[in-house]
């Protein structure tokens, strides 16, 4: 079953596209193939199947890039750096996708493209970190040096991210589900419903959501695998000349 993963991925993507886009949204869902209506969201609710997985991959890719960066520092194996940089490149791509899908959606739901909501701010900072990472790489010509310094930068930049998690809610209130809000009845500050963690999502939506999450993750690993193998081939090709 050489191509098992490819077929499996194809199947999942079809399922997500059909499952995410076709079921009608109705006031009182009766059959399994109808999504509940959420006031203020309506059809725009479908974004969750595509936006959340890209955001998740942005973070996952960063962690993978950093992990292989550290491995490079340990073993000085240039292939680890290739894995690291291709994960970072894909992460950057998904980061841009998450930002765009999010901000288009925000325009129609919250009124403007950008609100500096904590999570919008954190993805913006992640975008900056990815950008800085590639700016640094392009300024370093010697391969070993490039691998070493970009790995170190990824570690240092990563260490500042917990601070944002702490700082953001103090500076601004969250619009995303899962961020802190004030309960209208009791007046207490609490974390609002988080559809990802608390599963406050209709059962059929949850199924599509998780299939999508899995499909995107497989897609990421497939792309990552391809791109670092391409880099490796290019490298070996050049060495023979």
């Amino acid at each position: 079953m050489k191509n098992f993963w490819k077929y499996f991925l194809f199947l999942l993507v079809i399922l997500v596209l059909l499952g995410g886009l076709i079921p009608p949204i109705v006031e009182n869902p009766k059959s399994f193939f109808e999504f509940p209506l959420i006031r203020g969201l309506e059809d725009k609710a479908r974004i969750i199947f595509f936006h959340v997985p890209t955001a998740w991959l942005t973070v996952l890719a960063y962690l993978i890039a950093m992990y292989y960066g550290i491995r490079y520092l340990k073993n000085k194996n240039i292939y680890d750096d290739m894995k690291s940089v291709s994960a970072a490149a894909l992460g950057f791509l998904f980061c841009i996708l998450a930002t765009l899908t999010g901000s288009v959606w925000a325009k129609f739901t919250w009124g403007s493209f950008w609100h500096w909501d904590p999570r919008e701010t954190s993805i913006f900072i992640l975008l900056l970190i990815y950008g800085a990472y590639f700016a640094l790489r392009s300024a370093l010509e010697v391969e070993e040096k490039r691998a070493r310094l970009s790995a170190i930068y990824s570690i240092i930049a990563f260490l500042t991210t917990p601070f944002f998690i702490f700082i953001m809610p103090r500076l601004m209130i969250g619009l995303h589900p899962g961020s802190l809000e004030i309960d209208p009845v009791t007046g207490q500050v609490k974390a609002s419903a988080n559809p990802v963690i608390k599963f406050e999502m209709a059962a059929n939506m949850r199924v599509v959501f998780f299939i999508s999450l899995i499909a995107f993750t497989i897609l990421f690993f497939w792309l990552w695998n391809l791109s670092h193998r391409i880099l490796k081939l290019e490298y070996e090709n050049q060495k023979e000349i």
């Binding site: 010509e141 010697v142 391969e143 070993e144």
Partner: protein
């Protein structure tokens, strides 16, 4: 009397996909002197920098063993003195100020008199209060020697030792290598045949250059 060993095992250095050398193996002990030679670009200076602990090797390893104890990478600087064409001193300071600073940073107690002694030895005493910026290339070479022997190192790494030196300067190097502490190691990287007299054994880096990587 100290006992120092330098063991080099399978040392390899690549620079931007280009192999500099690979599979370098040798071992030298207290009192031995070694010549390293090879064509331009064969990695003599690179090897010297690696052994001075300021450049990292790509694979393999090297180890200084002082009195049966391994020397930590971070402490190599305490036992090594390097003279290299790549060495640049702080040219906004005078020769004396440079040496005084180095002694202080190395945390070794040295009186001004002792520093002057070293300056006399390398023949810079008369110009000790001039900024290094105003020095000729030969004088710059001499001040490098002063900074390399300031802390009385056990290992002396000389990369192109006689470049830019006049006859007087060459005699100084001859003397320095000849009279170098009997428990120390001297490595000389050179292509000048008259420098070959400094050591007993010769390693030609060209032999470690053409090995294909699998």
């Amino acid at each position: 009397m100290n006992k120092i060993d330098l063991i080099v095992t399978n040392l390899k250095k690549t620079f931007n996909r280009r192999l500099v050398f690979d599979g370098l193996n040798f071992e030298i002990k207290s009192g031995e002197k070694l010549i390293i030679t090879g064509k331009n670009g064969s990695g003599k200076s690179t090897l010297m920098k690696i052994l001075a602990g300021v450049l990292t090797e790509s694979a393999g390893f090297f180890q200084y063993i002082l009195n049966d104890k391994k020397v930590d990478r971070e402490n190599i600087y305490q036992i090594v003195g390097l003279v290299s064409p790549y060495l640049v001193l702080y040219d906004e300071f005078t020769a004396f100020e440079n040496l005084k600073l180095f002694a202080r940073i190395r945390n070794i107690k040295m009186s001004d008199e002792e520093i002057n002694q070293i300056l006399k030895k390398v023949g810079l005493f008369d110009r000790r209060n001039d900024l290094v910026r105003t020095y000729s290339s030969g004088m710059k070479q001499r001040i490098k020697y002063a900074s390399a022997i300031l802390h009385n190192p056990l290992v002396l790494l000389l990369d192109e030792p006689t470049s830019n030196l006049d006859l007087d300067g060459k005699n100084f190097v001859d003397e320095l290598v000849e009279d170098f502490r009997s428990d120390g190691i001297v490595l000389v990287a050179t292509n000048e045949s008259q420098d070959f007299k400094y050591g007993q054994n010769i390693i030609n880096l060209d032999n470690f250059h053409n090995i294909q990587v699998k």
